[in-house]
Symmetry: C2
Subunit: 178 residues, 2 copies
DNA sequence: CTAAATCATGTATTTAATTACATGTATAAA
DNA sequence: TTTATACATGTAATTAAATACATGATTTAG
């Protein structure tokens, strides 16, 4: 199977919600969706060009201030069809999702390793902070559990919270087993 | 920050446990460690060459049968030092760990989307199977919770089980919210 | 005996992704 | 007013990773 190029579909999906500029698309990967996919602007701008060349998106120029131009992209009918094909296709689960810390743990042979406690504590700090941030996002964006017109957004936030919760629990349990 | 090239350290870590061939290293990524890092043989063989050129590993030839030669690699003092440096260094958590299914979910706007139930069910099947497999591994490798001389191996298995458990719970909860 | 599966090692090509390079505008704060 | 930050868009160079190409030996099952 050829490499998937998932990025193109994510761009289509985001543009299907509302027309966006390259800059706004780049920012989208810093929040929400960034928990499960990341992309740099140096990937996004060339991909936009390719999507436009293949007729899946179009853009209109906008000018803010004197002369700062930006391109606001919109999905075409073709693009929307490609997006729906992708959404409807079977998704084989990501294997070997990379986690450098977990790999390091694999090489800690004994629960008495003098490095272990500090490693676990440092990593727990990171993930507790992330979890706290995600929970704030959740209450801010979905107060009273309201999620009718934005179910997907709620789902991925919930997913990220569960993931970080499990991660923290693992780190705490690893520390107490000593 | 330059790209990390974590693979080199994983190879050093595996060889530090016991001398291995390229083929055996490749197989190591199909089990255990494969839950948190993956690599093809086409990455591993060139990396072994580079590690040997920089004096971090050495090899001796072995022959099985008539003429099938294989190279069994061993870590040098330099290599062991590099491994320990890596283990002791701070690990920034992996951000944007990729999950194509989660991204798809982000684009499902309504809990009443007709595709949702099937998507969740299919994905749950995958992850339940994986979880079952991991649990079998755990009881096979660590009966009675014995994990004294191989704590790291136990930790990553536990980690993978917790991750898959949380994933399944998320999928079930996403389905019942409809 | 023979065919399939596994062992064993490499290279080449392509695609994906990161980092660095490059340039300029607009706005908000000091 | 000037300076820092954010807005805005691109390309170039490098590194990582996946897939495909390539070859051959050994073992195991039928």
């Amino acid at each position: 199977m050829a490499l998937r190029n998932v990025l193109q579909f994510i761009i289509l999906g985001l543009l299907d919600q509302q027309p966006l500029t390259g800059y706004e698309l780049t920012k989208a990967f810093d929040s929400d969706i960034g928990e499960f996919w990341s992309a740099n602007h140096s990937q996004i701008y060339p991909q936009l060009r390719r999507l436009e060349q293949s007729g899946q998106i179009t853009h209109q120029e906008e000018v803010s201030g004197e002369k700062l131009a930006r391109k606001r992209y919109t999905v075409t009918t073709d693009g929307r069809a490609a997006l729906n094909d992708w959404l409807s296709a079977e998704t084989e689960p990501t294997v070997g999702g990379r986690d450098e810390f977990a790999v390091k743990m694999y090489f800690i042979k004994s629960p008495d390793d003098p490095r272990l406690a500090h490693m676990l504590a440092a990593q727990l700090g990171f993930h507790e902070q992330k979890l706290a941030h995600l929970k704030i996002q959740m209450t801010r964006k979905f107060p009273n559990g309201q999620n009718n017109n934005d179910y997907g957004h709620y789902l991925v936030l919930d997913h990220a919270i569960r993931r970080e919760t499990a991660y923290c629990e693992w780190l705490r349990s690893a520390n107490s087993k000593k």
